[in-house]
């Protein structure tokens, strides 16, 4: 192989990838951070204003609300998707007939475009024609029907639930891959020692698939901060910005209001927050292994 590894070949084969990657992946981050220190309306030149955008963020109640909504979405998703997908994985890991079909069906929402997912759920959550309120009316729970979307409280929870629906099978599949790697003998040994089902899960399964759990967790963390289309379809951040998330609010500020500098400061902060949560999680996950 040494003979074919001429420097000229190496450079020639690496350049296209490196070039596109730098121009469209790395440079944009520098550009984004750069604009976040400016005031820029798209016309004329960007004006350097130092940290003013970041100071403004602290006093922007809509930004604080979208930060809170994003955190609500994140916490609900993290808890329920981890537990739910893990349970589904345990369920699908039993030797049952139709298991393959069930797995394929439960996985299927993950391949649908998020924008279509949003449209589908509008027709489930809509207070007037939606499935949930219709069923509640039908069975005599009229009094308990809710403004699932478009009200001032429930939208973030609905967004979290929809994400849960879309990712359940996907995350479960990742867990199943981990479960398959546990040697049969270990489970047998636990059984011989008289461990019950819960003890087996708690003291054998979970410790043995720790790295898979980390993978799933990091996937969920980064995924949550990319939820966009669903919010846009459900409420578009409304009414009055109460259901805005970090991503939708920064998108609206940047592209609808044309406040490019301010929007980039939001995008930068959002990116830093998601990196920080990933880092914090990785730190604690690592501590436990040692």
């Amino acid at each position: 192989m040494y003979w074919l590894s001429k420097k000229r070949y190496i450079v020639l084969m690496l350049i296209p990838t490196l070039l596109i990657y730098i121009v469209y992946m790395i440079a944009p981050i520098i550009v984004a951070v750069g604009y976040s220190f400016t005031k820029y309306s798209g016309i004329g030149n960007a004006k350097f204003i130092g940290l003013n955008n970041y100071i403004r963020l602290l006093g922007d109640s809509t930004f604080m609300l979208s930060l809170k909504n994003t955190m609500v979405i994140f916490v609900v998703i993290f808890i329920f998707l981890m537990v739910g997908a893990f349970s589904v994985a345990l369920l699908l890991n039993n030797k049952l007939k139709f298991n393959g079909t069930a797995k394929a069906l439960i996985f299927s929402p993950a391949i649908i475009a998020p924008i279509i997912v949003g449209i589908i759920w509008v027709f489930i959550l809509d207070p007037e024609v939606g499935l949930i309120n219709s069923i509640m009316n039908e069975i005599g729970l009229e009094k308990h029907t809710q403004l699932w979307i478009g009200g001032d409280k429930l939208t973030p929870y609905c967004v979290a639930f929809i994400y849960l629906w879309q990712q359940l099978g996907y995350v479960a599949t990742i867990f199943i891959a981990g479960l398959k790697m546990i040697p049969e003998e270990v489970m047998e040994a636990a059984k011989v020692d008289g461990a019950n089902a819960w003890q087996k899960v708690r003291y054998v399964t979970i410790p043995m698939i720790r790295s898979t759990i980390s993978t799933a967790a990091i996937l969920i963390i980064t995924g949550t901060f990319k939820i966009f289309e669903v919010v846009q379809q459900l409420t578009n951040g409304g009414p009055n910005h109460v259901s805005e998330t970090l991503v939708t609010y920064s998108y609206a500020t940047t592209f609808s209001n044309g406040e490019y500098g301010y929007g980039m400061s939001m995008a930068t902060i959002t990116f830093i927050i998601s990196l920080m949560i990933t880092a914090i999680y990785s730190f604690f996950a690592r501590e436990k292994v040692e």
Binding site: M13, T17, M25, P28, L105, P109, I116, E229
Partner: protein
């Protein structure tokens, strides 16, 4: 023993019931869309839950008249093909270098690899405006402006999978090829590519799905409605159909069904492809 068997059967039955219930719940949104898609608007408003008296495909006919589905499919397809051709070529070559070629300084190699992998943590939302800006400077717009951001978004994932796979191929292959007088081009095209078919399939499926469903970049870069992709077209249903709910539903169903059929055909590959990156990473 008999008691044991009965309790085991009971456990099995409860597992079946649980599994069917979970599967049904996950499928419910799709079934609900199908039901709504064959109802008229007044039925949807008056009695959303009822089963309609007769099967009607009016909604679909109206949806086809309102939207140029053929155009949306064609646009999406074109971008998929162009992006895939470019990204497969360049990332396969760069991954080959990183997996199998000899560097004078091996540190540089692992630095480049690490650099190319960082992208996995980068969210597209911080890239949107800068990419738009960079496109304007370079002079790219509409479809041409989408291809490079999509290629760039694929680089980290492809590098991770390609390098991992090519490293696992035995190094004797290269030596034998060199001894037989293979050129570098022959080695890659006639030996390594055919051996890498499984990982290429995984990469193709993962990226085709990503591009097919992608919305944020498309919404910023595509301005002319004749260039819209499926996702972008779908985001305008509300505006196009106004309060014609049945029309919106029928259009969505027409986008979901081909995708589910595709999934049905390549289900195993798709599931493997989508989970491969996560598990490897």
């Amino acid at each position: 023993m008999i008691v044991n068997k009965i309790s085991r059967n009971r456990r099995k039955i409860s597992l079946y019931i649980l599994l069917s219930f979970v599967t049904f719940l996950v499928m419910l949104p799709f079934l609900w869309m199908l039901l709504l898609s064959i109802k008229t608007n007044s039925e949807i408003f008056r009695m959303p839950l009822s089963i309609p008296d007769r099967l009607s495909f009016d909604n679909f006919r109206r949806a086809l008249n309102t939207l140029d589905f053929l155009q949306l499919y064609k646009n999406t397809f074109l971008i998929v093909i162009m992006t895939m051709a470019i990204e497969l070529t360049i990332t396969f070559l760069s991954s080959f270098v990183l997996a199998r070629m000899v560097f004078e300084n091996p540190k540089i190699k692992s630095m480049i690899y690490g650099f190319l992998i960082i992208g996995l943590t980068i969210s597209p939302f911080i890239l949107l405006f800068p990419v738009y800006k960079i496109n304007t400077i370079i002079g790219l717009k509409e479809q041409a402006g989408l291809i490079f951001p999509y290629v760039a978004s694929s680089i980290s994932f492809n590098t991770l999978l390609f390098v991992g796979y090519m490293k696992s191929l035995p190094s004797e292959i290269d030596e034998a090829a060199v001894i037989d007088g293979c050129s570098l081009r022959q080695l890659i095209l006639q030996v390594i590519v055919p051996m890498s078919k499984p990982v290429i399939a995984t990469v193709v499926i993962f990226n085709v799905l990503y591009i097919w469903n992608e919305f944020p970049f498309a919404s910023i870069i595509l301005q002319d409605s004749t260039n819209y992709t499926l996702s972008l077209g779908a985001s305008f249903f509300k505006g196009k159909y106004n309060i014609d709910y049945a029309g919106i539903i029928a259009s969505s169903v027409m986008m979901i069904i081909p995708q589910l059929l595709f999934y049905g055909l390549f289900q195993k590959n798709i599931v493997d492809g989508m989970t491969a990156g996560a598990i490897k990473g």
